[in-house]
């Protein structure tokens, strides 16, 4: 069974540009989560999508946005990139459905390393 996949592996942008990161969940999983992990820091929760809807959002500015497609894959968009957006962006998926509380195992993808110059 294929795991969570993310693309691209690496992404280099300049300040002010937009970045789009993609995630494909494990087959059968309907929930997708996005996390930011800056160098040497912990995991910061960004967004949780389930059945195409945004279920929960972390404390990030509106220029961080995303969506989930009918096939449950997801995109994370970061507009007006700033230097401090440089980080590893991790996507995770789970079978969690239609609830507001995270109670299921999350399986993480390998991440996209975003570098903002």
């Amino acid at each position: 069974e294929a795991g969570v996949t993310q693309s691209p592996t690496h992404l280099i942008k300049t300040r002010g540009q937009q970045a789009t990161l993609r995630c494909s969940p494990i087959s059968g999983h309907t929930s997708v989560y996005w996390y930011q992990q800056a160098l040497g820091l912990g995991l910061q929760f960004l967004l949780w999508y389930d059945e195409g809807e945004e279920r929960n959002r972390g404390n990030f500015p509106p220029r961080f946005s995303g969506r989930q497609f009918p096939n449950y894959s997801s995109e994370l968009n970061v507009n007006a990139l700033e230097l401090e957006d440089s980080a590893l962006y991790l996507c995770a998926s789970s079978q969690q459905e239609g609830r507001t509380i995270l109670t299921d195992t999350q399986y993480f993808g390998p991440g996209t390393r975003l570098t903002v110059l």
């Binding site: 996390y35 820091l41 912990g42 995991l43 910061q44 929760f45 949780w48 929960n56 959002r57 972390g58 404390n59 991790l90 509380i101 995270l102 109670t103 299921d104 195992t105 999350q106 399986y107 993480f108 993808g109 390998p110 991440g111």
Partner: protein, 109 residues
């Protein structure tokens, strides 16, 4: 509100035991434990949902206290493969899901 993890770092010899704590000032819906090795994605260890619950597999176990404000992860007879950073993730009532800052565990031969 980010949970507090302690200790921040711990160094063990192979075969020694360790306890990592995760606490919140408010009651929690759930506590999730993950381990992340350097350069790799986090890997799920276990989830606790009920006050007083204890779970475990192999030599790694965890507990969730009755008030659901603290969880502890127990690593017994540590192996070299246990090295990594351990994160607890918590979901507070009315709050977002959030991970703790992590505990760096190093197991030496």
């Amino acid at each position: 509100q980010q949970p507090v993890q302690s200790p921040q770092a711990v160094i063990l010899r192979e075969g020694e035991d360790a306890v990592i704590n995760c606490s919140s000032s408010k009651a929690l819906y759930s506590v999730h434990w993950y381990r992340q090795k350097h350069g790799e994605a986090p890997v799920f260890l276990m989830i606790l949902l009920k006050g007083g619950e204890q779970k475990g597999h192999d030599k790694i176990s965890a507990s969730f206290n009755e008030k659901k404000q603290q969880s502890s992860l127990y690593l017994t007879a540590s192996q070299l493969s246990y090295s990594g950073t351990y994160f607890c993730g918590t979901h507070n009532y009315g709050q977002n899901f959030v991970f703790g800052p992590g505990t760096r565990l190093s197991v030496l031969p």
